[in-house]
């Protein structure tokens, strides 16, 4: 590894759909890399490892997630429990929240030359809405305002394996991540497996249109990391 890394070249900001008109033509020097995958797929661990590696190489890195922004705050969780919100309403809420992060955090960081590592992006939001019955087309159009990342990896784990990882980690299952709100099965294990399969199917469907690269994440952390680092390295320094 050489001590000096060349700066990443500048390029225009690109969007999925119609994009954000008033930001068109902006130049960015950074890169946007997304790690997608269900809870227990090792996303956060990989984000940490990749951050450390890129920083050791001299790149400035910032991470983002789907955590609620200042715009909406924790209010949505309380409201969700008290008064059920409609499916489209919820999807729009998450879109508004995401737009806030995109415009106030992700785009400024990209302009400043940071490599932005996103621990989840719009794909999780779209998949969650679609499995709950919202029109796939509508969601795709709605999220047409978002920035097209340079790389998107999807950590693919077999649902049965995922169950063990989640159970070991949290000693229980998350209500929404097991699709318990969908009434799929009285048995939470069954519900979890069915829900995760539905989500995986949506991610599979998005591979082509959104350029998602599936990564076999049934392997060890080290193996998955070597795979990801290799791909990121090739992209950043050889452009492929």
């Amino acid at each position: 590894m050489s001590l000096y890394r060349k700066a990443l070249g500048a390029r225009p900001l690109t969007f999925y759909g119609d994009g954000i008109q008033y930001l068109k033509g902006r130049e960015i020097k950074g890169r946007l890399i997304v790690i997608e995958g269900p809870d227990g797929s090792g996303r956060s661990t990989q984000v940490d490892l990749i951050t450390a590696k890129l920083e050791s190489e001299g790149h400035a890195v910032t991470t983002t997630g789907l955590k609620r922004s200042e715009l909406i705050g924790a209010g949505i969780l309380q409201a969700k429990q008290r008064l059920p919100l409609g499916k489209k309403t919820l999807t729009l809420f998450y879109a508004a929240d995401f737009a806030d992060q995109l415009e106030h955090k992700i785009i400024p960081a990209l302009e400043a030359g940071y490599i932005v590592l996103a621990d989840r992006y719009i794909y999780t939001l779209i998949a969650r809405s679609t499995v709950r019955g919202t029109s796939r087309k509508w969601s795709n159009e709605l999220f047409g305002f978002t920035v097209k990342p340079d790389l998107v990896f999807y950590l693919d784990v077999d649902p049965a394996e995922l169950f063990h990882r989640v159970f070991q980690k949290y000693a229980g299952l998350d209500y929404y991540e097991s699709g318990a709100d969908l009434g799929l099965s009285d048995d939470l294990y069954d519900s979890f497996v069915i829900y995760q399969r539905m989500m995986a199917r949506e991610f599979k469907r998005m591979e082509k249109g959104y350029g998602l690269v599936p990564i076999d994440a049934n392997r060890t952390i080290a193996e998955v990391n070597a795979d990801l680092q290799g791909r990121i390295e090739r992209y950043l320094h050889e452009g492929k």
């Binding site: 759909g17 119609d18 994009g19 954000i20 008109q21 008033y22 922004s69 200042e70 715009l71 909406i72 705050g73 209010g75 949505i76 409201a79 008064l83 919100l85 409609g86 499916k87 489209k88 309403t89 729009l92 809420f93 879109a95 508004a96 737009a99 806030d100 415009e103 106030h104 029109s135 509508w138 159009e141 709605l142 047409g144 305002f145």
Partner: protein, 235 residues
Amino acid sequence: MSRRAPLSKERQRGRLIVVEGIDGSGKSTQLHLLDQWLRHLGVRVFSTEWNSSDVVKEITSKGKKKALLTPTTFSLLHATDFADRYERNIAPLLRAGYFVLADRYIYTAFARDVVRGCSPRWVRRVYGFAAKPDAAFYFHVPVEVAVKRILTGRPKLKYYEAGMDLNLANDEYESYRIFQGRIIEEYKRMAATEGFRIMDGTLDIEHQQSLMRKQVLEMLPPSVAVLASKELVAQ
């Protein structure tokens, strides 16, 4: 007993009537009078206003003050508010046969968000799930008339209400005037394609109301329409 038709195929039985126009165009007054008339006739009515969902307000109120809204987040929050009212009230009540009266509808977003710089096609797609109204009344008034109605008494204009985020002018009243003028331009642009029923907002209130009632009369169930038309003639 007849077999129940599958719900999804059942026709939407209610009627959706909306009013559009800039602030001070008199649309809310007219919609209120229409609401009162329909209630008097024994029609089931539900009225709903733009940006009025309690749940959405509760969730955003904390954030809104702190965060700076961009045209995109501004647009999406209003879409969220609309979706909540649509999913909770408008859609089910139309199915149940109500006359749903909306003070501002998707066209407000089409006008305002586009003036703020959002993509016209994107905004229309975001609201793609909303039913087309049975009647959309657009209240046209020259910008100076409407602005005068609003600004008499020099009220304190809110930052976004005055369009201050657009950097149109340093003075909030001047900014408001320019902003409202641009919104009128957007309304005009969509009037034909969206099938607006144009109302002259400078006419007397009573005159406007009777013009509106005549058009709504045609949407009433026959039994109610007979009674209503007698009353309208008597006036």
